[in-house]
Amino acid sequence: MRERLEDALKYGKADYVEVRLEELEATTVAFKGKEIDTLSASKAKGGIARAMVRGGWGMAVFNDLKELSDAVRRACELAGLVGSEEASLAEVEPVQEVTRAELRGRDFRGVPLDEKVRTAKEYNDIMLGHHPKIETTETRYWDSFRRVWYINSEGTYIEDERPDISIYMTAIAREGDKVQKVTERAISHGGFETVEGLQERAERAARRSVELLSAPPVRGGVYTVVLDPRLAGVFAHEAFGHLSEADFVYENPRLKELLVLGRRFGVEEVSIVDDGTIPGLYGTIKYDDEGVPARKTYLLREGVLVGRLHNRETSAKMGEPLTGNARAQGYSSEPIVRMTNTYIEPGEVRFEDMLSGIKLGVYAIDMVGGQTMMEMFTFSAGWGYMIRDGRIEELVRDVVLTGNLFETLKNVEAVGDDLRWDHGHCGKGGQTAPVSTGSPHIRIRNVVVGGRR
């Protein structure tokens, strides 16, 4: 493959050319209710050639590997139509590296299909059998194994293998018109052991969905909120991580002013880090999809903006260090600036102490999603409890929090000592990327909680 790629590069006339090829095999096993809903297998190969001419990009995506050289040529031609300024890409040391996936556990490619089906079915049955109010379930097992070949015109050549395995277990409880849905999941770049031994988690999803049926929706208003580590990690990712992605900023002079390094965004207790090098996490990579090594980057240090996530272009244009955050979903996508493992550094406050002094607040737990639009962000807890006079009281549902970048981090009142990680997928620009988020418990005042009064 290497020779073919090196040969194809010769067809490129541009300031910079790269090619990424992939082979992928994937299996999906999905249950809906009692029955299996989807059982499918897929196999794909394809690639993308990307070229830069005078600062403009041309790209060509293909499935048929016979089109490889032609794709390089087309990408260069298109780039020629676009470019109008000087090329600028941050310098990076060329690397030559061939890595193989090290699956310490069981390689899921060797697990027979019936075992994958049985595993998913067991959890699905646990949820279905938990309570008569469990109306239905969705259990989705998915694995994929990708081989990736990357080459660029500066002498970098990387071969990589990327295993991915996950299971999502969703219990849906119903009582009359009320429907509640709770999902538990396990997800990693590891082997089949990731999805084994999750019986208790399945039980928990079912139990929680039934409990939520009798929980009232939270009353909308402005509260002091304690976020559990899972939700707080999403908060860091949504509220701050996305604004730290330099592709938002690098060609927008006003945003650059607004997000200038050195500006204070939060209280001193808050430091937020992106680190693609932590072993075993879901956002961990050795190199990004431009061949740049991953590293640890402080975004917010003691409340002050000190760093940003970059690809080679944004790094050069902003004159800031490379961070190794250019990531692509797959062969049909170009790399864009993405987070890896993003977390709030733990502080010193114990959880018990965090609750004290809250007259009326919300303890928001777990997360079902989050979204950012520039300064505004919204994130949804799986459920919550009301806090009254420092004590955790009744269960509430539909806890959706919204905030503003310029205010919320300044309203953080306490950062806990109990860092915990969580793993998932982040969507941006039509692509998803595996990421981890981490945080201790945190307490924030003046948070708008949506809901009905």
């Binding site: 897929s42 139509l81 849906i172 208003g221 945003l255 959706v400």
Partner: protein, 432 residues
Amino acid sequence: MKLRDIAHMVLEKVSSKVQSAQVVASWEESTPVSFEADKLKAIKTSRTVSIGLKVIVEGRLGESHVTDPEDVDALVEKALEATKFGREVNYTFPKEEPPDVKLYDGAVVEVPTERLVESCREMLELVKDYNPDITVYAYASKGVGESHVANTSGLDFGDEGTGYYLGVHGELVREGDILMAGYGRGWRRAEIDPSEVAGRAIEKFRMAERVVEVRSGRMPVLFTPEGLEVLLLSLKLGLNGKNVLLGSSPLSGKLGERIADPRFSLTDSGVEDYRPSSGHYDADGVPKGRTVLVEEGVLRNFLYDLDTATKAGRRPTGNTACSPNNWLISAGNTPNDEILRDLREGVVVYDVLGLGQGNPISGEFSVNLALGYKVEDGEVVGRVKNTMLAGNVYEALMRISAVGSSPEWTTGSLCAPPVLVDGLYVVSKEGT
């Protein structure tokens, strides 16, 4: 190799081993052009191939996909293996005549890449003329594709389609305030007027020149066609025949009952000429058509794919995975601008954050107004920020108090007029 030949080759390999089988071979070519931060940034071409196979053996379904015609043996083998554990089904892939619907516009294929670039530039300049401080992003894309579906019942149908899209959005940054707004249009014909797309985007910026506060409380909310997604997301899940069969839809068992104000009627259609979600067949080879879902507030039908329809004892509606094709909300009897004019105090919704994060199937929603405006005495007075909108879709549908008389197509697969809902909950930080 021609798609038809690939499809036939696959069928030949499996037909003796299965009760029923269907193969779809397709290719697609697209050319997206993007302007970022006021300048041309990238042009991409993409040529992708897909071959999908569904087989039924001993009443069980297996599926597989590959991208390389040379992998058809793996395609067949994996699909057959999957049938050992696959979903139990009780149908064979059908052979029915295709409906009459236009999907292909030769003019799209003729559009040179330069015209895509020019259209972007035109939109960009119009937005800049309105306000040079807005940082502009513009997109244009054209696409063409062919597919061939063949099954063991004798369906043997080649199809071709095109797609065309223009969109523009801008960012306006002021101290402590970032506004993002835009507009896009997409369908299967090459005719989209860049100045109209830009005009729509500019209108949103114009209305947002002032940021105003809104009080917390219950008030009427006007959903623009774009903003209607807030209500339609839950309905998509609720009208999904599979969710109905499994009992997870709150609409289960409510056929013939009133679920909305009589002013509200909703139809699913896969046969609107040149619309994105139109087609001749769904993924199981069932012809697409029109299905009345809600008629003058009364629930009339759900969306069914072949398998779910068989199990529910209903007719399949040509909806892959029981998901919508295009949705049409019928015109009401209030002129669009009159709805706004008669509003003493309320909120207009264009775009929200956080939709679908909570528990959308229940109908509960609680979303952040990404782009919304306050109305006072019949006029938009400015943009509202840091404001949440909450309620239940099924209650909201009953409280519809006006439906506009002029529906229009949004960016994607919805044709709708503006819809006014009384008494939704608005929660704002400033206004408590």
